[in-house]
Amino acid sequence: MQPSRRHFLTGVGACACCLASGAGAAVLPTNLEPLIDASYEPVDADERGMWQSCERVEEMIRTSPLRMDAPGLHEYTRGVVERLLGRPAPSLRIYLMRDSSFNAAMYPTGMMIVNTGLMARARNEAQYAAVLGHESGHFFRKHTITNYRSVRRKGAAMAFIGVAAGAAGGGWADAANVINQALMLSVFQFSRVLESEADAFGIMLMARAGYAPNAASLMWEQLIAERKASAEKRNAKYKDKSNSTYSTHPPTEDRMIDLDETAAHLARVSETKNFEGREEWLAATRPYRAMLLEEQVSLNDAGASLYLLENHAQDGWDGVLRYYEGEVFRLRGGEGDDEKAANSYAVATMLPDAPAEAWRNHGYALIKAGKLPEGREALNRYLTMKPDAKDAGIVRFTLNN
């Protein structure tokens, strides 16, 4: 099936109509149709070339050391996507990648990449589904090839205008610059339109699958709050990198508002279910929870890490969360942070699910504070819990000296 220009423009038109509905807020179109089906094959030279490139990328990803070895989570992710699509997706290939940035991607060949940075931030299955639904939107609406053709067409036009203006001489160069600048900006503008369309497609899938549609806007709300918390702790000004004419994505706050409006609209016009899947999400990610938190906390972005931990602790703090809270303070190492870290480790060790590392750090904190017998006791407890720890050598040396 060819990319349907008419379909796309219909979607954009619907979107533009909705923009008039409020003060900057828009209800996204909720009647978008997929442009391809499960058996789709590339039809022309452009697409075949793109598919070949994607296949080379997939080969690299398949053998990458960054690939996460997590069969249970992999099957769970497949289940979420299939629930969104409302059918099995045997040709879909999912790759879970160790990358601490908040991201996921779907290639036109049916390869989906999901970063651990997304898993670390989602609070429930519905939030996870919101991002996977968005990526599915890019796939089913053929955004990669559509955007590629747009860029190529505009690039060719810009080159032609530049050469023609050069040949004509005189004052034509200025006119050519103005036209080319407009064309260049339209490349970014078009990319933002596609992102909005993927948001629309994603929330539509969520509603049909019975997920709480407001999970999409909540995900963005959390992300904005995290970046603001990060900036605040660094005494820096919060800046949305998407809030630029040259951004390929719409401003994050606009996306959040539009998704929120759309979720409310869906609730008004149809009977939406509000499945969040908190328990299901916790069960699926439990084996990897410490690793996911470690990836974020070890970046030493104290504001962002504390926000993340507090967000996960909405249902209560446990030993793992308290241990990582201590890690945030220990790594930041600012005034008073030693005491805060020591306190978090001490609290963590009182909780039943405290990791062995909480005892080690509790021990070192006590030694730093001059409480040697208590510190030694905590370090011994660590070695008892984890006799083959990677750092057992230096811990034993500390105890013996």
Binding site: P65, L66, S298, R330, Y364, I394
Partner: protein
Amino acid sequence: MKTRILLTLLPLFLAGCIVPYELKKAGQTTVANGAFTVNPSIAWNVVPKDASRTEWEEVWTQNGPMLDTIAFVGGMPEGKTILVQKKKAEKQVPLFRPNMTPQDLASMVEASYRVQGVTVFNTESIDPVDFLGGQGIKVRFNYAPSNGITKNGSCVLRVVDKRLYVMKLEGVSSHYFEASMPEFDRLVASATLPKK
């Protein structure tokens, strides 16, 4: 004529832009602005300084920095970082503090990779080691950068008179790291502080 002059000057201009590698011959030599002395058994190439390195660091390589490096940090004072970073950067390498525990020092090394986009970082061991005439720590680790070519590292650290001293070997896991390990261990064993 103008073109000829320009073509003649171009190679001179380009040569001026390239900072050459310096050869470090085998035998006792000072490193990191004379902060300490080591005794290499083979010749090494000194990597030209770049903006990412602090004033306390010197880097050597055998086969090019992409494949193997040995970094020396000599006498870095309190409040500084082992990487050059913006004060308000989102991700920060912890500031060095003289009262850092072995675990804090190991975390500092790990953070220097994490802030540069490394997500897969594994500490293999942390052990005591003799370094610069006293007790330091040795951190063995491996990591996978985004290009997927895994590397191994061995980093020796010690705090002397409230200043940080480091030697770190890093190399591509297949061949290069192991090939340089014996020489690195010899260098660590030979490292001495200047007499006061």
